[in-house]
């Protein structure tokens, strides 16, 4: 295995040398091996992950939460078989190969995504890790017979942040249709973050907490900016090409398939929303609890 551990001074309870260098020969543009820049947060996360009982040998390809033909006619079984059975599977397999024998092995997928993003200076496993997460999340973003309109507090927050539900849907479709290349469109919740990268607002206020529509290129997802994703649509061509060839058709089809009603469980967006609280109330609790617990452990 080419991946190496860079020696760092460790204090007593830390068994894990919290440093990474890229494997040689995976990505030429990563240049010479370098140490990951460790933020306090990442160190904490690393310590936490070094604890006992957290080791999983490798990631598995999770099946979508419905049969592969369940989203027809918006998404054909044929497309789904390739998208889940080939693309998603390949991301999982390649990720497992890349992390085997490195200190990333045994970490949660969310941690790997955030750590290998490395502030935009991707480490080699980033693309595969993020694509595994994105596809897991994408399948959860749809359901047979989904669609409709949210209600309750989510609807209020959508109205507050986008003007109206219809305006949100329009803006979301526009974002998805205008991605210049492969990527993803997201509805995300942004707590106390500035609109610039992952800048933290030094004077946080309630006004900073809002829903945003964001686009991300290739494998990037809003976890790396510390946003909470709520919905996504895959706008890589493989997501729609067999069925439609033209992206706008699937966007028209998929957006109404989003189970907005489930998102209504995301309450208290306006109020006190700690990461842990958000995780508990999120539809995607399973994903978020892993992600959020690490950061709220202090």
């Amino acid at each position: 295995m080419a991946a190496l551990l860079a020696p760092v001074a460790t204090t007593k309870p830390i068994s894990l040398p919290c440093a990474l260098v890229p494997s040689t020969g995976l990505h030429g543009n990563l240049g010479s091996p370098r140490r990951l820049q460790w933020t306090k947060k990442m160190q904490r996360l690393c310590v936490r992950k070094a604890g006992p009982g957290k080791v999983t040998a490798k990631f598995e390809l999770k099946p979508p939460p419905y049969p592969l033909n369940a989203l027809e006619p918006h998404m054909s079984k044929d497309t789904f078989e390739y998208h889940w059975g080939k693309h998603h599977r390949t991301y999982v397999e390649n990720l497992n190969k890349q992390i085997a024998g490195t200190e990333l092995e045994g970490m949660s997928l969310e941690d790997i995504v955030v750590m290998t993003y490395n502030k935009g200076d991707f480490l080699p496993p980033f693309n595969n890790a993020a694509q595994v997460w994105n596809h897991d999340f994408f399948w959860e973003s749809m359901k047979p017979g989904g669609g409709g309109k949210p209600s309750g507090e989510l609807l209020q927050v959508i109205k507050r942040d986008f003007g109206s539900f219809e305006k949100f849907v329009g803006d979301f479709k526009t974002a998805a249709a205008t991605q210049f290349g492969s990527g993803w469109a997201w509805l995300a919740y942004k707590a106390n973050r500035l609109g610039v990268g992952n800048a933290v607002n030094p004077n946080p206020s309630e006004e900073d907490k809002k829903l945003v529509i964001v686009k991300s290129p290739n494998a990037v997802n809003p976890l790396v900016w510390d946003y909470y994703p709520l919905l996504t649509i895959d706008v890589w061509e493989h997501a729609y090409y067999l069925d439609f060839q033209v992206s706008s058709v699937i966007i028209k089809g998929i957006v109404p398939a989003f189970p907005y009603s489930h998102l209504c469980r995301v309450s208290r967006l306006r109020g006190r929303c700690t990461r842990a609280a958000f995780a508990r109330i999120s539809l995607y609790a399973r994903n978020f609890i892993v992600y959020c617990e690490c950061f709220s452990a202090d």
Partner: protein, 234 residues
């Protein structure tokens, strides 16, 4: 003309590749729009390497969309310039780069391919053949290197065999999305570009991009690349 006619060079904004490569241009309302060039062969002529269905969609839908959206952006640009609306001018840059780049890249790409009976896949001879042998050892090593870069390219983009016209140096480059080669260096000229967007192969090769990359060499038009090389070498 009241608004003044913008020069083609200024409007293309992406280097002189457009004119040199014979991209169709038409004059409308004081600025020159671009038009979809004809393919120099039939849609089915590259089979079995590339299916007729892919070629048709790729040319009539994708390339046409870059042409239409580029012209639309030009129109909006002229409007914004005439109104002195600087923020709109700036905002239009990304659409111009993407769609203008898409037009430039695909215009080259069609010429980079040829049916087998018209010389597709025949190795380069003369000066380009020598330059490749001298600088890369063999044609095979270029094929391997470009295929590796193409397979590793994350998302959408292009792999190029480039000529640096200031020193006859050949290099292999990749560009993201529809960025044209000139964004990698002002003196770089595309000899051969391979489209590695999924739309270029998905209907036929699905997720198996390496097979597409393996087969495309059977229809590469090295004669065109050689002509460009000879014209652009100092």
């Amino acid at each position: 003309m009241a608004l003044g006619r913008l020069s083609r060079k200024a409007l293309l904004g992406l280097g002189g590749n457009g004119g040199r490569l014979g991209i169709g241009l038409g004059l409308v309302r004081g600025f020159e729009t671009v038009t979809l060039p004809d393919l120099p062969y039939d849609y089915g002529a590259l089979e079995p390497a590339i299916s007729a269905e892919i070629m048709l969609l790729h040319h009539q839908k994708h390339h046409q969309a870059y042409v239409s959206n580029y012209n639309k952006a030009l129109e909006q640009l002229q409007d914004a310039i005439s109104k002195g609306d600087v923020s709109s001018v700036v905002k239009l840059q990304s659409a111009i780069k993407f769609n203008g780049g898409g037009h430039i890249n695909h215009s080259v790409f069609w010429k980079n391919l040829a049916p087998v009976q018209e010389g597709g896949g025949e190795p380069p001879k003369r000066s380009l053949g020598w330059a490749i042998d001298t600088q890369f050892g063999s044609l095979e090593s270029i094929v391997v290197k470009m295929n590796t870069e193409g397979a590793a390219l994350q998302g959408s983009g292009w792999v190029w065999l480039a000529l640096d016209k200031e020193g006859t140096k050949l290099s292999i480059e990749t560009t993201a999305n529809q960025d044209p080669l000139v964004t990698k260096g002002a003196t770089l000229v595309p000899l051969l570009g391979i489209d590695v967007w999924e739309h270029a192969y998905y209907l036929q090769y699905k997720n198996v991009k390496p097979d597409y990359l393996k087969n495309i060499w059977k229809v590469v038009n090295w004669k065109y690349a050689s002509e460009v090389f000879e014209k652009e070498s100092p």
